[in-house]
Symmetry: C2
């Protein structure tokens, strides 16, 4: 594959949350407090085998309402903070607008996962779920 | 946007590493030990502003040599370990084959980042870079 090529991907599911617009959504997960539901496509329900409440998961989402990518951004969208490089920020306006959020699995039933700590807008496409793995997902010197 | 739609993405750069084939590559970052270089497209160099050696970054890659997705996998590809759900594993054979690796930035020069802890094959497309943020990227109860 030529890494210069453009490629396609498709969602494995969608987020159901209380946030209907960007203005309502918190900037990052910890402030969300509430719960969201990840509704996977039925076909992927078997791929959830082994996941249990209490586990931590990475949720990869598509920022479907993100602005066009910029080279520099104000941290947390706050104009009073000096501009920094896009890749030194978690802003949604990225060349590949993929969101990365660590959530705690509260409940699981069939193809639906109830999670805590997900800031995504209602209707946000989900690209992937990965288990949090201590050691590899932590800084180490 | 209809979350059922397929979407496109394109690499922001490529990994230069000593691993030319899947057999040579370790299963996860911490075993890699060595260094790899992330070579961003020139156009994205300004988006690195503010990143300095010593910082930890998430590198999102495209598993360009992954097999077709499966519902269940043997952890770490070890047939002696019982099958578990794909989303309970970090296996590359995913519907959207996005890799997530935490690396330490060792050096940065123009559009090239030397990083520690990246297991990716030489030529692996890079989709995104995000700063590690303590608090939001750690489990919390």
């Amino acid at each position: 594959m030529d890494p210069q090529d453009a490629h396609t991907w498709e969602p494995i599911g969608v987020v159901r949350s209380a946030y209907g617009s960007r203005r309502e959504a918190p900037k990052q997960g910890p402030e969300a407090g509430g719960q969201a539901v990840i509704e996977l496509r039925e076909q992927w329900a078997p791929a959830l085998k082994g996941l249990e409440p209490g586990r931590y998961l990475w949720v990869l989402t598509y920022f479907h309402q993100a602005d066009r990518p910029r080279q520099e951004v104000h941290p947390r969208g706050d104009p009073s903070r000096p501009l920094t490089g896009l890749f030194n920020s978690r802003a949604p306006s990225r060349p590949n607008p993929i969101g990365l959020t660590l959530v705690k699995l509260a409940a699981i039933a069939g193809n639906k996962l109830t999670v805590r700590g997900l800031e995504a807008l209602d209707g946000t496409p989900v690209l992937d779920l990965k288990p949090y793995v201590p050691g590899i997902d932590e800084p180490r010197d």
